[in-house]
C-alpha cells in the first residue's frame, strides 16, 4: 500500500497537466485555429486521460472521455466540421472532463446532472453509429452503485498479509487507517499464528490476521479500492457485516504448532469510534519485542524529502559554477602567467571539485525506475486481463537511476507501448499454441545504463510486426504512395506516423493510433530516440534511448556567420572538409555532397538561420553530416568547427519564446551565449526562404 496512493497522486498530477493542455487547445480552436495539430493535441490529452483512468477503473471518467474522444476523432478525420455549436459543446465537455477528474480525485460521485446533458450533446454529433457498449458500460456502473446502496449497511474485512506483502514494503497500518476513514470501524487482530519460540520467528512472515468491521458502509467499492494494489499479496475476505463470523473465516494458518510468544500488537490506529478492539488479546508491548514485524521490508534507509524546486535551483547554481570555472580558466590562459605557476594546479583542483559537485547534484535528481516499472506492471496486467491473453511480465534493472523529469515523462509513452505490445504484439493463446510457442506470452521490461545513456526496452515474444499489413495500412491511409519502396526499418517507423493504427477494430485498450505518435513525441522531447527491432514469429523489441540528464549535453562548438553555436554531438555522424569533386550542383541554389557513393543534400546553416549569404564555396567550409529522426541524412554547411564539450542547456522559452531551428542556448567559457541548433528542425524545413526577414537582417547588420 505504501507506494500506491502515490501512483494515484501521480495520475492526478498528470491529469492536471493534460487538462491544461486540453483547455489551451480548446481555447485555440475557439480562437479560430483549425489546424490538425491543435485538434490532435486536444485529442491526445483526452485520450491520455482516458487511458490512465482506465488503469484505475475510474469508469465514469473513462466513459465520458471515450465519448469526447470519439467526437474529436470525427472532427480530426474531417467527418465533422467546426461550427459555433460544436466548439461550445467541446468546451463544455472539456470542463466536465476536468470536473470528473476532480470528482475522482476527491472520491466523490460525479454530478450526473451536469455530465449527462453534455454526454447527450456529444452523442448528438455522432448519430447512431457510436459503439453502444461503452455507454451501457457507464450505466452498468451506476446501477451497481444503487444496488449496493440498498443492500448493505456494513462490511467485515479480514486480511492476512503474506510474506510478499511485507517484502514489497507495504504497511498494514496504512490499510487499516484507510479503512477507518470509510466509516466507523472496529479493528481486531488474530495473532494465534505467531510462533511460540522466539527463535522460530521469521520477521518477514505475516503471522497476524486483522479483522476490521466497518459500519454504515453502503458498498464495498471503497474497500476494494483500498486493497486493489495488494489483493494478490494477502488473504483478503470481504463479507457483509451481518453474516456470522465463522472460525473458518480466519485465513489458513501454516505454523500451527507455534505457541504464544511475547510480541507487539501493531495496532497503532485508534478506531474512530474509540471502542477498544474487541477481539484483540490484551498483549503488553515490551520494549524488547520484535517491533520490526510491522514493517519488515523497510530497511533503515533514511531519506530526505526536499522540494524539487530547491534541487533545481541548486542544479542551476552548479551549472553557473561550471560556466564560471571555464570563464576563469579561459581568462587565465590569456593572461601571461608562467606555466609553472601554482595557479594552474589550483585551477585543476577547482575544475575537479566543480565536476564533482555537479555529479553529486545531478545524482539528487536521479531516481530509480522502480516505481515507474511497478506502475507499468499494473498496466500490463490489466491490459492482459482486458484482452484475455496470458502474459507473464518480467522486469530487469529496476534500480537503474534516471533523471526525475525523465521518469515522470516516461509514464505516458511506456503505458502506450506496453498496451500496444499486449494488444497487438502478443498473440492469443490458441494462436501461440498453433505457432508452437508456449500459451503464455512474455513481456520483458528492461532498464539499463549504456555509456552515458539510459536504455529502456520493451520486448514481447509475440508474432512480430506484420510489415505487409503495416505497409498496406499506410498506403490506405495515404501516409505513403502505393508504389513506395521502403526498407524494413522505414516500414517499422511508419508505426510512429500520426494517425496510424494497426488495429482494425478500435479497442478500449490501445486506442486509435495516437499511441505511438504520442510515444515518439514524448521521447523526442526528452532528447531520446526510439528504435524498433522485430523478427517475424519471434517478437518485437522497442528500445528507448534517453540521455542521462536533461541539463547537460555533449555539443560540437561551431561558427556560423560570425556566431558561435552548438550542434548536439548525438546527431553528428562525421565532419567533412569536402573537395570540389565531392560537390555537385542541383538547381539554382541546391548543392549535393557525394559521400561513399551516396548523394546527400547540403543545408547552408547560415542561410537557414537568416544570416547574410556567405559567398565562400563549400570547399572553404566544413560540412557536418547529420542524421535525424525525420530526415535520413543531410550535410550542414558551417564556417568552422572548434571543439567538442559538455554544455549546460538553458531554455529559451521563458523570456523569449520558441525559435525555429533552435532548441535552446548555453553559456560559453567567455560568458557569451551560444544557441543550440535543433538538427531535426533545420533538416526538416530546409526552409522556404523568407526574403522580407532576410532584408531586415541585412539592414540590421
Amino acid at each position: 500500500m505504501a507506494t500506491d496512493p502515490s501512483i494515484l497522486d501521480t495520475f492526478f498530477e498528470e491529469c492536471e497537466d493534460l487538462i491544461v493542455a486540453l483547455t489551451e487547445g480548446l481555447t485555440e480552436m475557439r480562437d479560430g485555429a483549425e489546424d490538425d495539430e491543435t485538434v490532435n493535441a486536444v485529442f491526445r490529452a483526452v485520450h491520455s486521460i482516458k487511458g490512465a483512468a482506465g488503469a484505475f477503473a475510474l469508469d465514469e471518467l473513462v466513459g465520458f472521455a471515450h465519448k469526447f474522444e470519439t467526437v474529436l476523432d470525427e472532427l480530426r478525420s474531417n467527418r465533422l466540421t467546426t461550427d459555433e455549436n460544436l466548439l461550445r459543446v467541446l468546451q463544455r465537455a472539456g470542463d466536465v472532463l476536468a470536473d470528473l477528474v476532480e470528482a475522482a480525485r476527491d472520491n466523490i460521485p460525479a454530478n450526473r446532472d451536469q455530465v449527462d446533458p453534455v454526454l447527450n450533446e456529444l452523442q448528438a454529433f455522432l448519430g447512431d453509429e457510436d459503439d453502444q457498449p461503452e455507454e451501457e458500460f457507464v450505466f452498468e456502473a451506476m446501477t451497481l452503485d444503487f444496488d449496493n446502496a440498498e443492500e448493505q449497511s456494513g462490511y467485515r474485512v479480514s486480511f492476512r498479509p503474506s510474506h510478499e506483502f511485507y517484502a514489497c514494503g507495504h504497511d498494514p497500518e496504512l490499510l487499516i487507517k484507510a479503512l477507518n476513514e470509510l466509516g466507523s470501524a472496529t479493528t481486531s487482530v488474530d495473532d494465534t499464528a505467531l510462533p511460540d519460540d522466539f527463535g522460530d520467528f521469521d520477521w518477514e512472515s505475516g503471522y497476524l490476521t486483522w479483522t476490521i468491521e466497518i459500519e454504515d458502509l453502503a458498498t464495498d467499492l471503497g474497500i476494494l479500492e483500498i486493497f486493489q494494489f495488494v489483493d494478490d499479496l494477502c488473504d483478503l475476505k470481504i463479507s457483509p457485516r451481518d453474516t456470522p463470523l465463522t472460525p473458518g473465516a480466519a485465513p489458513a494458518i501454516e505454523l500451527e504448532d507455534l505457541p504464544d510468544i511475547v510480541q507487539t500488537t501493531p495496532i497503532e490506529v485508534a478506531p474512530k469510534d474509540e471502542h477498544p478492539p474487541a477481539d484483540t488479546p490484551p498483549v503488553e508491548a515490551p520494549s524488547t519485542g520484535p517491533k520490526a514485524d510491522a514493517k519488515p521490508a523497510k530497511r533503515n534507509a533514511i531519506s530526505l524529502r526536499v522540494d524539487p524546486e530547491r534541487v533545481d535551483r541548486l542544479i542551476n547554481a552548479v551549472g553557473e559554477l561550471i560556466i564560471n570555472q571555464s570563464v576563469i580558466s579561459q581568462r587565465l590562459e590569456k593572461a601571461a602567467i608562467p606555466n609553472s605557476s601554482d595557479l594552474f594546479a589550483d585551477l585543476d583542483d577547482y575544475k575537479l571539485l566543480a565536476r564533482e559537485i555537479q555529479e553529486g547534484v545531478m545524482a539528487i535528481r536521479a531516481q530509480p525506475v522502480k516505481p515507474l516499472f511497478q506502475r507499468m506492471l499494473r498496466i500490463a496486467r490489466e491490459a492482459a486481463d482486458g484482452t484475455g491473453k496470458d502474459v507473464a511480465i518480467v522486469t530487469h534493472g529496476e534500480n537503474t537511476e534516471v533523471d526525475k523529469t525523465v521518469v515522470e515523462r516516461l509514464a505516458d509513452p511506456l503505458t502506450h507501448m506496453i498496451r500496444n505490445a499486449i494488444d497487438h504484439g502478443i498473440e492469443a493463446p490458441e494462436q501461440r499454441k498453433a505457432a508452437g510457442k508456449p500459451a503464455q506470452g512474455v513481456l520483458t521490461l528492461t532498464a539499463s545504463q549504456r555509456s552515458g545513456s539510459i536504455v529502456i526496452e520493451i520486448a514481447d515474444d509475440g508474432a512480430g510486426l506484420n510489415r505487409t499489413r503495416i505497409r498496406a495500412i499506410a498506403v490506405e491511409k495515404g501516409l505513403i504512395p502505393a508504389d513506395a519502396t521502403l526498407s524494413e526499418q522505414e516500414i517499422d517507423q511508419l508505426l510512429f506516423a500520426p494517425g496510424f493504427s494497426t488495429a482494425t477494430e478500435i479497442t478500449n485498450l490501445s486506442g486509435r493510433g495516437v499511441g505511438m505518435d504520442v510515444v515518439k513525441t514524448a521521447i523526442t522531447t526528452l532528447g531520446g530516440r526510439v528504435a524498433i527491432s522485430s523478427v517475424p514469429g519471434k517478437g518485437t523489441t522497442f528500445s528507448i534511448t534517453l540521455p542521462l540528464t536533461l541539463a547537460v549535453m555533449d555539443g560540437m562548438i561551431i561558427n556560423v556567420g560570425g556566431q558561435t553555436m552548438v550542434v548536439p554531438i548525438s546527431s553528428i555522424l562525421e565532419s567533412i572538409r569536402p573537395n570540389t569533386s565531392d560537390i555537385s550542383r542541383i538547381g539554382l541554389h541546391g548543392e549535393l555532397l557525394r559521400i561513399r557513393g551516396e548523394y546527400v543534400p547540403i543545408v547552408d546553416l547560415a542561410d537557414r538561420l537568416g544570416h547574410p549569404p556567405d559567398k565562400r564555396t563549400m570547399t572553404d567550409r566544413v560540412l557536418l553530416l547529420i542524421q535525424t529522426e525525420t530526415v535520413p541524412q543531410c550535410a550542414l554547411a558551417v564556417d568552422d568547427i572548434f571543439d567538442q564539450r559538455q554544455v549546460v542547456v538553458k531554455s529559451m522559452q521563458g523570456n523569449y519564446g520558441a525559435i525555429s531551428g533552435i532548441s535552446g542556448a548555453t553559456i560559453l567559457g567567455d560568458g557569451k551565449i551560444a544557441l543550440i541548433i535543433d538538427p531535426d528542425a533545420i533538416a526538416l524545413n530546409a526552409a522556404p526562404r523568407n526574403f522580407e526577414e532576410e532584408a531586415l537582417h541585412v539592414a540590421a547588420s
Partner: protein, 155 residues
C-alpha cells in the same frame, strides 16, 4: 499631526527616467531589476527588427529589445555608453536598450496626467501617462502594453 498630513496624500510613485530616440521617458521603478552597461549580444535567427539578441545575465538567457525601435524611432547604434535596463514584465525578464538613464523621479500619484490623445503612433500607444517635470515633462511607458507577448517568432 502626522495623520493629518499623510491621510489625504496620494500614493508615492518612483520612476526611472531614461532617454530613447532622443525623447524623455520613464518606467516605474518596481518593474526594473537592474541597469547594466551595453554588452554585445548573441543574435537570434529570424528575430523581429526590434530584438537585438540575447545576453547572459548570471546564467539566465535574456532577450534585449531596442526600445527606440519599439517606440517607432530610429534604430540605436549601441556603443559602450549605451545602457540596458533589465525589466520584469509579468513573469518575463527582458532587457531594454536605451540611450541613457538619468535619475530616479519620485512623484505622488496625483501628479500623473492622462496622455492627451493625438494621432496614433507606436509611442503614444505605449504611454500610460505623463508627468510634468519642471519646464519639461516625461512619459510613462507601459511595458506590458509595449510588449504584450514577446512576439515569439513563428516557426
Amino acid at each position: 499631526m502626522s495623520q493629518q498630513v499623510e491621510a489625504p496624500q496620494a500614493k508615492q510613485l518612483e520612476f526611472v527616467t531614461l532617454v530613447a530616440g532622443g525623447q524623455n521617458f520613464c518606467v516605474e521603478i518596481t518593474q526594473i531589476r537592474e541597469i547594466r552597461r551595453w554588452t554585445p549580444v548573441t543574435i537570434l535567427p529570424h528575430s523581429p527588427f526590434h530584438v537585438l539578441g540575447v545576453i547572459n545575465l548570471r546564467g539566465a538567457v535574456i532577450p534585449i529589445i531596442d526600445l527606440a525601435v519599439k517606440l517607432g524611432f530610429e534604430k540605436i547604434q549601441p556603443t559602450e555608453r549605451h545602457v540596458i535596463i533589465i525589466t520584469a514584465i509579468e513573469d518575463r525578464i527582458v532587457g531594454l536598450l536605451v540611450e541613457s538613464v538619468s535619475e530616479i523621479l519620485g512623484v505622488s500619484a496625483d501628479m500623473v496626467r492622462e496622455t492627451p490623445r493625438g494621432p496614433e503612433d507606436p509611442a503614444t500607444r505605449a504611454i500610460q501617462g505623463i508627468i510634468p517635470v519642471d519646464d519639461d515633462m516625461t512619459k510613462i511607458i507601459n511595458l506590458g502594453a509595449l510588449m504584450p507577448s514577446l512576439d515569439p517568432v513563428a516557426a
